[in-house]
């Protein structure tokens, strides 16, 4: 799922400076799961802002709401009035939701309360790690199920670099495993090491972000 972390409080407070009526809008899907922008986090942020405002004598009305998700228009219907009444909407959705909110309410100033990080999974409770880069042409099957684009810091497709030491990546040996060590170990266990002898050509990066903003059309689903 998409993972994100809440922006530093000081940054958020700075963005809201001078606003009279604020709506903090949470999202009930990805950011709830990674505990950054769900109903609970919305309440905590709202309370923190109110406490800060009380202390500094700032007048600000802060409303809270959380909808199922902010990447489909229909869900905004239930909070339409709240959005219209606010001077500014601080969205605690991922970057997709924040923008979509702005598209649905083009006259409303929308602000991001989170920094969207990556496509990832929970490796343990409370810890999420990046697993996919959205390159647009998935080659995971050729690498024993480990993505070289994401797990290798340099996205190398034909083997590790010299910075691979004791299974760790030189970029951050404490925290990053060498992706190619993972690929090697996995393919060895699968008995597929011989496949690594094939040289992979340069990847066509245009199928992902590097080709510009993407779009998918599923013909038979069009109404």
């Amino acid at each position: 799922m998409i993972t994100a972390v809440r922006k530093p409080f000081a940054e958020i407070a700075g963005m809201l400076e001078g606003s009279g009526k604020v709506l903090i809008l949470g999202c009930g899907t990805c950011v709830t799961v990674c505990m950054a922008g769900g109903e609970k986090e919305v309440a905590i942020l709202a309370s923190t802002l109110r406490l800060a405002n009380q202390k500094d004598g700032r007048e600000m009305q802060i409303a809270e709401a959380t909808i199922e998700r902010q990447c489909d228009r229909e869900f905004f219907d239930s909070v339409r009035d709240a959005v219209v009444q606010a001077d500014v909407v601080l969205s605690l959705a991922c970057g997709v939701g924040v923008q979509f909110l702005g598209e649905v309410f083009p006259d409303k100033a929308v602000l991001p309360g989170l920094d969207t990080k990556f496509y990832g999974a929970a490796v343990e409770q409370g810890v999420w790690a990046e697993r996919c880069s959205g390159c647009g042409t998935c080659v995971i099957g050729e690498y024993g199920g480990v993505c070289p684009v994401t797990r290798c810091s340099k996205s190398l497709l034909n083997g590790p670099c010299g910075g691979s030491q004791k299974g760790k990546c030189e970029v951050d040996p404490q925290n990053i495993d060498c992706g190619w060590q993972l690929i090697y170990d996995r393919m060895k266990a699968l008995g597929q090491l011989d496949r690594l002898e094939a040289v992979k050509p340069i990847k066509d990066w245009s199928t992902g972000r590097h080709g510009g903003p993407g779009k998918i059309v599923k013909e038979e689903a069009l109404l």
């Binding site: 309440a43 923190t48 802002l49 406490l51 800060a52």
Partner: protein
């Protein structure tokens, strides 16, 4: 004009803090007097304390929030007090972000027999709150 005494909220786990509070309140006049500016709330476990609840109480006028749970490895529900420790830590971080004193929320551990410690904890916390009161 007499200063309105600050009220603090105590979130007490029913297996330790609440029992100690009941005993403390029964102890005597002096103890009662020390506990009179306290809003005591019983919870099943300190592990139910939420960051949102702590902040809400402070927002709504509580001068300070004192959380009392069972000592480490003594939690009736095994891990509740460890969760409480994490939550109070997060609440303190939120207070720091808001520019407030993180000492407005405090976590302490005691057993159900520790009525004396409960009174000391309340008195100590009240003293801190009175010294650092928000106007």
């Amino acid at each position: 004009m007499a200063r309105k005494t600050a009220r603090i909220t105590a979130l007490l786990c029913e297996n330790s803090g609440w029992k100690a509070y009941v005993d403390a309140a029964a102890e005597g006049v002096e103890a009662s007097r020390l506990l009179q500016d306290l809003d005591a709330v019983k919870l099943p476990c300190s592990g139910k304390v939420e960051v949102g609840l702590i902040l809400k109480l402070l927002e709504n006028g509580s001068a300070g929030v004192l959380v009392l749970g069972c000592p480490k490895d003594n939690c009736t529900f095994i891990r509740g007090n460890y969760r409480a420790e994490k939550r109070v830590g997060a609440a303190k971080a939120a207070l720091r972000e808001a520019g407030l004193d993180e000492g407005l929320v405090r976590l302490d551990f005691l057993s159900s027999l520790d009525s004396r410690k409960l009174i000391d904890a309340v008195v100590s916390f009240k003293g801190y709150i009175d010294d650092h009161s928000r106007s």
